[in-house]
């Protein structure tokens, strides 16, 4: 991959030396975390290929799209309505920021103690290492936390940023605000792409993005089965890839995988030994290649059956009604769907507590691991509400606060193993 795409990366202005280092780090990590797994479904081959080509083929597709006059719009949050980008002929890419990178560069503009995800995206941009970032004509920020909100002001010095104001509550006036934000976003996307969103194009893109959500819901449903037919790590990977892969191809590939998983379920074939503890992970997003905690959980003999994360259920759990007849009506439907996301930026966030209790029952989970990035006040503080709700229902909980470093792996392994010993 390195040789084939070097010219492309160079033409994009990447820092090739730093980029090489990043690409060299990924295969050993991926090999250890992913390829060493037992009983993987054959359908994972496509997703292995996508990771192998992470800065190759997909970037080439984006560059070709741009060569035809198309626009690429980057996002950091599941609140950004990708239907709208797609309806305007743009490609929507979730920018990952899941690795400690360019910290020295990032710390020129950011405080030292800040959320690792924020530091990562700033580090990626300032050190010109991410070809996705460098492909973006515009990035979309949002106000889901103070750190991101303020960091987007800085990021705007380096790439055009459009910020959507996500409300903090879910009252009627907040819905009204959010609807107007979605409307403004549509106008901004039209301006950026030079294309008009039509009733037909929006109807079509709503159906296509719903198709992606439905296939992910189908996969989630299969994980309710005992034994689970796919590992949590593989599922997380698919959910991460969902954010940047070609929508139609991705939907088709996950569909094929689900066909295989259905057969596995019928045959009673699982990925982990019978009776492995079933875990739900919840908390802050786990962006590629942040697989640290899921890897520790699953290599300690448990299986993750659901991710109540932005890189998980929050991304696909509700669909947009497909019977909208006007732009205005569809914008309403879209706004409503996205405001249903249970992010810790809302107060109160009862929906998340109820959801977790329901999930534990539906997925027959033995315990929940609450994993939050360091310095993430919304999720770290909300852990108390979650703990209280889960205690009332007798659901065991392990709370973890960590970052992208590996130095706490031994400590985390002890805590996770002890948690599994406790709930077995």
């Amino acid at each position: 991959m390195v040789n084939d795409y070097r010219l492309m990366w160079e033409s994009m202005g990447l820092d090739l030396e730093a980029h090489d280092q990043l690409l060299q780090a990924l295969p050993p990590l991926y090999g250890e975390v992913y390829l060493n797994q037992q009983n993987r479904p054959d359908g994972m081959e496509y997703f292995d290929f996508v990771v192998n080509e992470i800065h190759g083929l997909r970037i080439q597709e984006l560059q070709e799209h741009k060569g035809r006059g198309g626009k690429v719009i980057g996002t950091f949050c599941v609140f950004v309505p990708e239907e709208i980008v797609r309806a305007a002929g743009g490609i929507c890419i979730g920018l990952c920021s899941g690795i400690e990178i360019g910290a020295a560069q990032a710390e020129k503009v950011l405080p030292r103690n800040i959320c690792p995800l924020i530091k990562s995206f700033m580090g990626f941009k300032l050190s010109r290492i991410c070809p996705y970032f460098e492909s973006c004509d515009m990035v979309v920020g949002e106000t889901t936390c103070d750190g991101k909100k303020k960091a987007f002001e800085i990021l705007n010095d380096y790439v055009p940023v459009h910020v959507m104001e996500v409300p903090q509550m879910k009252r009627e006036k907040d819905r009204f605000l959010w609807r107007s934000e979605v409307q403004d976003f549509l106008a901004r996307v039209e301006e950026s792409t030079g294309n008009t969103v039509t009733v037909e194009s929006l109807q079509r893109s709503i159906k296509e993005i719903n198709g992606k959500r439905r296939v992910l819901l189908r996969m989630a449903g299969l994980r309710k089965m005992k034994p689970a037919p796919i590992s949590g790590k593989d599922s997380l990977l698919i959910e991460q890839i969902a954010m940047y892969d070609d929508v139609e191809r991705f939907t088709a590939k996950v569909g094929e995988l689900c066909d295989e998983l259905e057969i596995r379920v019928e045959e009673g074939k699982g990925v982990h030994e019978q009776g492995a503890p079933r875990i739900i992970v919840t908390g802050t997003p786990m962006a590629i290649p942040n697989w640290k905690v899921p890897h520790i959980i699953e290599s300690s003999g448990a299986v993750i059956v659901a991710e109540e994360l932005c890189t998980g259920m929050r991304y696909f759990e509700n669909t947009v009604p497909e019977d909208g007849e006007s732009i205005e009506q569809m914008v309403d439907f879209i706004a409503e769907r996205y405001l249903g996301i249970n992010c810790a930026c809302f107060t109160p966030n009862e929906g998340r507590l109820e959801k977790l209790v329901q999930l534990a029952a539906k997925y027959e989970a033995d315990g929940i691991v609450y994993c939050s990035l360091a310095f993430c006040d919304p999720y770290l503080v909300e852990a108390n509400r979650v703990e209280k709700a889960l205690k009332e229902h007798g659901i065991p909980l392990l709370k973890i606060e960590t970052d992208y470093g590996q130095e706490d792996t031994g400590q985390l392994k002890t805590r996770i193993e002890a948690f599994l010993e406790m709930i077995r």
Partner: protein, 253 residues
Amino acid sequence: MLRAGIDIGSRTVALVVLDGLKTVRTALVDTGFNPLGTAREMAALVPPEVAIIATGYGRHAAGAEFARSVVTEIKAHALGVSRLFPEARTVLDIGGQDMKVILLDGRGGVNDFQMNDKCAAGTGKFLEVMAGALGYRSVEDLGRDSLQGNAIIKISSMCTVFAESEAVSLLHRGVARSDVGRALHVSVVERAFGLLQRVGYEAPLVFTGGVAMNPCIVTMLKEKIRGRVIIPENPQLVGALGAALVDCGKDGV
């Protein structure tokens, strides 16, 4: 039947050999710079046919080599303490690099637990670093002297590195080192108390790990919880004892 448990920690490696429920041999050495090598030497003290169960940070390395199975420090301490003090409800373990609180279920199992985050704040390592910073020859000297210190200052930094510079700047201001030492011990006890409260501890409390031999910490902890603190005869051996009690999946309590 003989059974053995080995606790491979960051500072010490402990071994306990049981005949039935009776301890027939114990050993305790510094971990040194080659933890697995030290553990291997300790394992050589055990007849080859005896199953060794490993716990502590080095458990998986031992498990890959000579140990029959592995168990976390949490479960090992729960088993060890429950064996020594069946009435115990809570364990506080402060070792070389971590601090943990375990809520016992009264049958040798764990109801809940809390552990410090990745930093060394409030652990044996923290006190060792501070003993060096204050010019004591050993952490024992620091503990002894700190008992005589006055409660006139407070160390607010929890981080080992920051607390060290805070301690040094206090010395420069002319504060007696016994007073600084006392304040450092208070900060460890405060941290332990925070963990105890987080888990909702119940009496009786058993205190294990190397730091349980520090008289200053023990005195302050008793004052803080206003209750009894039980210290095992060999607080550093409890993890290894608990591991020896794990009989290949069948708990020995």
